[in-house]
């Protein structure tokens, strides 16, 4: 019981240590194996970002539309329909954008990373990499961290744009607001801070996803039966840690 509690408490410290090791390796071994690393980064960006554009776009439009429908329903009661853009900015760009993007990335790419690294551990790939004098952290973790971070930031911009578009379509349908007015309404409210904080959140979320999934993947330790547990744990822990970090970042910047 005490051991379990100690493990739970020290877990974030272990993850921080792994993150530090990945970042340190990234800078210490900069330029090493650049052809292989670049290929893996590009593959990661393609897998994590390009492959889910359609899915995330659909979700973005739906969420943008839902936010506007709910906002319209409430704001029309108090005659504040012109504040629609403000609602979109506050809800989509500040909170939902990074969060929804992160959840989709966890489901699509996070679990895939945990599975891939778990298989690499079970099938002896990690040992084979080590025996060739290659640091598995540099070969496996660094390109995934870079690829996923670039992918997350790109997806966040994409999600925000698509969600705003979805919001506009619903607003236009119900209120006939012209596109120019809607965009100007959004543009006057949206600040550089909002975009920057969204990027900060996305970068943190990407780091959390990669570190947890890599850690769980390496932890399979040659036992294939541990793999399903590692995958489900990594998804749950990613979600939990992202919620906690989201609250902390929002509290720091908005309170």
């Amino acid at each position: 019981m005490i051991n379990t509690i100690i493990k739970k408490i020290t877990y974030p410290v272990i993850l921080s240590g792994l993150f530090y090791r990945i970042v340190k390796t990234m800078f210490l071994q900069i330029g090493k194996g650049r052809i292989v690393i670049r290929k893996t980064i590009l593959h990661q960006i393609y897998f994590c970002a390009v492959e889910i554009l359609l899915l995330l776009g659909t979700i973005g439009i739906i969420f943008g539309a839902l936010v506007i429908i709910q906002s319209l329903a409430q704001l029309s009661k108090v005659g504040g329909s012109e504040a629609l853009g403000q609602f979109l900015v506050v809800i989509i760009i500040r909170e939902l954008g990074p969060m929804i993007t992160a959840i989709i990335v966890i489901l699509h790419s996070g679990t895939a990373i945990a599975t891939e690294v778990g298989y690499m551990t079970v099938l002896g790939d990690i040992r084979a990499i080590t025996m060739r004098g290659i640091d598995p952290i540099h070969f496996v973790a660094v390109p995934r961290l870079l690829g996923l971070t670039i992918g997350m930031l790109s997806l966040l911009i994409y999600f925000d744009v698509v969600a705003l578009l979805g919001g506009f379509l619903v607003s236009w349908f119900f209120t006939g607001i012209p596109f120019y007015n809607f965009i100007m309404n959004v543009a006057t409210i949206i600040g550089g801070d909002d975009i920057m904080i969204g990027f900060i959140k996305a970068a943190f979320f990407a780091a959390i996803i990669v570190v947890i999934c890599i850690f769980r993947g390496f932890g399979v330790e040659g036992k294939i039966t541990k793999l399903p547990v590692a995958i489900s744990r990594s998804a749950i822990e990613c979600f939990l840690f992202i919620l906690i970090v989201d609250i902390i970042i929002s509290a720091i910047f908005y309170l």
Binding site: G33, M131, F139
Partner: protein, 241 residues
């Protein structure tokens, strides 16, 4: 004078309360070919994993080509592993790379060669092991014999100081002898094979060291070892050498 390819002093290893290695000493010169003979597969495997820098001994010190092995420093270990061929039944290919990518990985990664340059560099080895047609395939498309040949080519791409083999798959495996000969000719590396195969001992080993109850004998002449085996089958693991 060239330093020893590997030198171990007072290596000990304990697992689950059992002392598997007791103050083991070994020094191999470049080009020396030694067979490790042991009644305990576990002890032999652990000793060779220690020599291959994959396991840290509980006590003792080791040098590879005169360089002290600090098991705490992962960067130094990674550098040293490029000078060691370590081949056991768990050695595998990287599954999501093609055969060519597997073979060329070290060159592309460590020397920043382009795949085309790596192909040109490795072409003689690929031809020597007759792997041209396998290059675009993935490990899952291959049978165990093919995989073994590819692993041998990967080992041959290194310029090792030390080659370690744990129970090679087949004692009449032509590619194995091709690799062993290539390694010795190309880099004059010391070689240690753990085997119980008499044909491999007779055909390839120069000297034999015997590991019994955690104690390693000094290297003995192959002929003396084979005679002792025939004369005293019950005492075949005599550690006196």
């Amino acid at each position: 004078m060239k330093p020893h390819a590997i030198e171990c002093i007072n290596i000990s290893y304990q697992k689950d309360g059992h002392l598997l290695l007791k103050d083991v000493n070994l020094a191999l010169s470049p080009g020396q070919r030694v067979i490790l003979y042991s009644e305990s597969r576990l002890a032999a495997s652990i000793f060779l994993q220690i020599c291959g820098t994959l396991l840290e001994p509980k006590t003792g010190k080791m040098w590879l080509n005169g360089e002290y092995i600090n098991f705490k420093n992962e960067r130094i270990l990674l550098k040293l592993r490029r000078k060691i061929v370590f081949n056991d039944r768990r050695t595998s290919l990287i599954q999501n790379l093609t055969v060519f990518e597997n073979i060329a990985l070290s060159s592309v990664y460590h020397e920043n060669l382009s795949p085309k340059e790596a192909h040109m560099l490795l072409d003689p080895l690929v031809k020597m092991f007759n792997l041209e047609r396998l290059l675009p395939l993935r490990p899952s498309d291959l049978d165990p014999g093919m995989k073994r040949r590819i692993l041998y080519v990967i080992e041959a791409t290194k310029k090792p100081e030390l080659a370690i083999f744990i129970q090679p798959e087949s004692d009449n495996d032509r590619p194995l002898y091709m690799l062993l000969n290539y390694l010795q000719e190309a880099s004059d590396c010391a070689c240690m094979i753990y085997t119980e195969s008499m044909s491999l001992i007779e055909r390839w080993g120069d000297e034999v060291v015997v590991l019994k109850e955690g104690v390693l004998s000094p290297p003995m002449d192959k002929a003396s070892f084979l005679v002792s085996l025939k004369e005293e089958p019950n005492e075949k693991l005599n550690t006196q050498g």
